[in-house]
Amino acid sequence: MSSPDTFEGDGDPVDALLSAGRCSGTDDRLRQAVLGRTIGVVRRRRRLKRVALGAALLGCYLVGVATTQLSRSPTGRTVGPLAQQRGGPRASAQPTPRPSRVVPQPQADLPAGRCNGRIAKVRQADFDDIRRLSDRYLEREGNVTLALRYYARALNTASAEQRAISVEEDSWLLMALKQARLKEIRHDNGDS
């Protein structure tokens, strides 16, 4: 019976075969060479990570810029057509800047939703106030529908002088609306 420290197969010729590959030392030259190559892989991985991070940050920045641009575009779109429309009726004249007006604070600061509820109350309001409000809808918010509605309301309370077309003061929409009203009146007078 073999003791725990020995193996009964010891002394077998297979021992020599299985011990053939034993060595005590290592190859330092090989160690350095392989270390150099593997360190290179680690370095490349670090550089790739940095490039990927930079690309991700740049992508986020570009997405943010694009989102900002898209959110501004409704105002931007109305500036172009408005400028073109104003250029049409006054083609023979030099374009003059619209005179700046002092907009009454309470009405100028009203948000669109709340103005809808005040339609019935604005019948008695001044023509200029309603027109200013309509101008604001048209120029700042690009809301042609609401601007048209308030221009119409303003004209309903306007005097003959106020219903006349003013090239310097009227927006393209108001001019168009005044023109349409004039035609309507002439047509009615012509019929009658």
Partner: protein, 205 residues
Amino acid sequence: MDSEDRVKRDRLLRSAVLAGDEQAWETWYGETFDDLYRYVHWRCAGMQDQTDEIVQETWLTAVRRVRQFDPARGSFPAWLRGIAANVVRNQLRRQNTAKKHMQPLAGEPSTNCTAETVVENRERAERITTALAALPERYEAVLRAKYLEDLSVADIAASWDQTPKAVESLLTRARRMFRDVYGNSEETGRIPCHHRTPSKETETL
């Protein structure tokens, strides 16, 4: 080192290496290079050129696939040995394929004893490498513990939590299989390519 500590440490090193920390890689490399070299040298039965090539390929594979290393499943040196064993097997397959296409040299056989001895030693080393590669993982592990790490049967039994008798039995079976495969390759001149499946490797002692 406690097993939990070892797992924690290996995880930290792995994360550092994946982040590109050269120091972490050098630490791992410095701790395990010698053991891996000696293991591959043993597996290659002393063939220096094979050893160098396999050591290099093992380390390059390890650094590229370090993400796949799971410290919970085993230690870093054990993972490296697994890679080295696969590299050895692939090398043997390539050599088998190359030998099939080789033509015998024409003319009289050489009478140079030194040259013949070198060739014989080389062939013997190749057969040893092949026989070791053909063994199941469990057999290879016990032969490694006995002949490379120079552990006694009692030491092996203690580290594996087995009885000395069970380890002796495993050693006997491993040596028998090694002898059979070695002997077969010597007689036929062909190098067998055994497919090792996990189910065959799981030995109940």
